[in-house]
């Protein structure tokens, strides 16, 4: 038996491969409509107002009982700060990047940290660290392949991911994009860690076999993520890596990046990926939609399947859907606690 831990201790112990008092429950994105309304935040201000952001995202911890507090809400901060066009969505639809650059030279990031959305993330980290010292304060960031995809356009990334395997010239082009992305990643990562983030959670959504060649992931994606991850480790911070879709063919590569934890979605079989990932803790992989319309039975079943499959943290596949209900989130947390009491 491990003595009772705080949420932060629990998450950090899991990432450090140490025993925990119960399995941590964590999340990636947290733009939950019910909590936005409950905390009195207003669209679209909560994306650029640190106080509103913290008031809303912290309800995932204080009300639902999750172990981490995650900010910002979506994967558009890097892009908007670089001057790309972003459509702000709705209270229940996340913002989306609508334009891209033609050449890597067009990307200017000298004033990246001055951007109001970047600043909001940084301020929100500081504020939540102050207000909730017992929770694992987590920055939700865009990983290098996905950021490169936002810079050049996702379809171009997909096409280039095969062309660069065939022609050296295309590989050079790919590296130019990835290098710019990595520079930006590092500036943002350093600011987040300095602000006090306990964990950096990186989504590399576009590194998925659903969009790019798995060979490309191994040849370009893994080294890029590793370079960024090593940088983050040198700052003294652990990091998690999420990739969408059926990641079974690339989980070995994900595990080799040095990430302290991997996050996978419901398209994979947990027992299969935990076997391949070996030592590296895997989090997942509850179908997010269950938080919107799942029954208690379904939620509990999905939680237990993932944990029986060897997951070391419970997490929703690709993040928390905006229309999630607080009672379902609580059912999820309870199911994890029950499983832990029984099996740990």
């Amino acid at each position: 038996m491990v003595a009772e831990m705080t949420s932060k201790e629990r998450v950090l112990a899991m990432l450090d491969k140490k025993p925990v008092d119960r399995v941590p429950v964590i999340t990636g994105s947290t733009m939950v409509k019910e909590y936005i309304e409950k905390s009195g935040s207003v669209w679209p201000d909560y994306h650029s107002n640190a106080e509103m952001m913290v008031n809303t995202v912290s309800l995932m911890h204080t009300d639902a009982g999750l172990d981490n507090i995650v900010m910002p809400f979506g994967m558009f901060i890097e892009s908007i700060a670089l001057g790309l066009e972003v459509k702000m969505g709705r209270i229940d639809i996340q913002p989306s990047v609508r334009s891209f650059f033609n050449k890597p030279e067009e990307v200017k990031y000298d004033n990246f940290l001055e951007d109001k959305f970047v600043k909001t993330t940084i301020d929100a980290i500081k504020l939540s660290k102050e207000k909730f010292p017992d929770a694992a304060i987590t920055a939700f960031l865009v990983a290098p392949v996905t950021l490169a995809g936002d810079l050049m356009g996702a379809e171009n990334l997909s096409v280039l991911s095969i062309k660069c395997l065939q022609k050296e010239k295309q590989m050079q082009k790919m590296h130019e994009w990835i290098d710019v992305a990595l520079e930006i990643n590092k500036i943002y990562a350093e600011a987040c860690v300095e602000a006090g983030a306990d964990v950096l959670y990186y989504s590399d959504a576009s590194a998925s076999p659903n969009l790019v060649m798995p060979e490309f992931y191994y040849e370009v994606g893994v080294p890029a993520e590793k370079e960024l991850g090593d940088f983050v480790h040198n700052l003294g911070c652990p990091w998690e890596l999420h990739i969408c879709g059926d990641t079974t063919p690339i989980i070995e590569g994900m595990a080799s990046t040095g990430a302290n934890g991997l996050s996978v979605e419901q398209a994979v079989k947990m027992s299969e990926v935990t076997k391949i990932a070996g030592e590296v803790p895997v989090a997942g992989n509850i179908t997010p939609l269950l938080m919107v319309e799942g029954t208690e039975e379904q939620i509990t079943g999905a939680v237990r399947d993932a944990l029986d499959g060897g997951a070391k943290a419970s997490m929703l596949g690709c993040g928390t859907p905006p229309l999630s209900t607080s009672d379902r989130l609580k059912t999820w947390v309870k199911a994890v606690a029950d499983w832990s009491a029984e099996k740990l």
């Binding site: 459509k87 229940d92 639809i93 996702a154 096409v159 991911s161 095969i162 969009l211 790019v212 060649m213």
Partner: protein, 264 residues
């Protein structure tokens, strides 16, 4: 192609290179040389085009499309038996888990590259009987994911359908208007987000309200869309990927009343 005489194979290789270099003069000269050997250049060209599209070789596909034009191959035959056949081949592989999305995308670029050259030669005779069936296609409102939608469009075009592409983030009413305007045979809707799935039943309801639900078939798709969901909301089908969507629709139009009967 391996059983061709050595001389012919040699010229084919030279043509590949000229096509890769986009050297139009060399292509013209080599095409003549190929014809002079007496080989069945038409069959060779169609086979070549299918393989090049399948492999996503855009420049070479364009080069060999020039060959097709020079030897006077019927542009429709070039499209259907050459370019589109290649797209279907890679689509089949993708369906079987033997190919990935980037391969579909480069094949699609290659096919369109060839089609651009054929387009000016394909002036349709307005009075000639068989008009291709029209599909109105788009990603629903609130969702900007359109890579899958465009692949569905590519495969439908490759199978002879005329596509009216509304793009992404398409309001429900636009689907209805476009279907009426184009006297569509089918509507194809995509979404990749659970948050925007509910737009699909809205479009179906509008179709019913307008009294035109029975005039069009409705296909829905995208990662979160299941067959159960499709039937639950009253869509006709949700094939699981772009290649099967095209195959399904091709079969389904046979049992569907023709445009003139449906739209009057």
């Amino acid at each position: 192609m391996d059983d061709l005489p050595e001389e012919v194979q040699g010229i084919i290789e030279e043509l590949d290179e000229a096509a890769e270099d986009e050297d139009e003069d060399a292509i013209e000269e080599l095409t003549q040389k190929l014809l002079d050997t007496g080989a069945d250049v038409e069959t060779i060209t169609l086979k070549k085009l299918a393989l090049l599209v399948m492999d996503g070789e855009e420049e070479m596909t364009q080069g060999w499309t020039r060959v097709a034009i020079q030897i006077g191959l019927d542009p429709f035959k070039t499209l259907i038996e050459g370019l589109a056949t290649g797209m279907s081949l890679i689509g089949k592989k993708y369906e079987n888990g033997e190919a990935f999305v980037p391969q579909l995308l480069i094949a699609s670029n290659a096919m369109y590259g060839g089609m651009d050259l054929l387009a000016p030669l394909m002036k349709r005779d307005e009075n000639s009987g068989s008009k291709p069936a029209t599909v109105v296609i788009g990603t629903v409102e609130g969702d900007v994911h359109d890579i899958g939608k465009s692949l569905v469009k590519t495969l439908l075009s490759a199978n002879g359908f005329n596509c009216v592409d509304l793009g992404n983030d398409v309001p429900a009413s636009r689907f209805i208007e476009a279907a009426k305007e184009s006297k569509a045979t089918a509507i194809s809707m995509s979404t990749l987000m659970t948050t925007t799935m509910a737009e699909m039943p809205r479009v179906l309801k509008m179709l019913s309200d307008e009294g035109i639900r029975d005039k069009v078939m409705v296909m829905v798709g995208g990662a979160p869309i299941t067959t159960e969901y499709a039937s639950q909301i009253g869509a006709d089908v949700s094939p699981h990927d772009a290649a099967s969507a095209a195959n399904w629709l091709k079969a389904a139009v046979f049992d569907f009343p023709p445009e003139s009967v449906r739209w009057g």
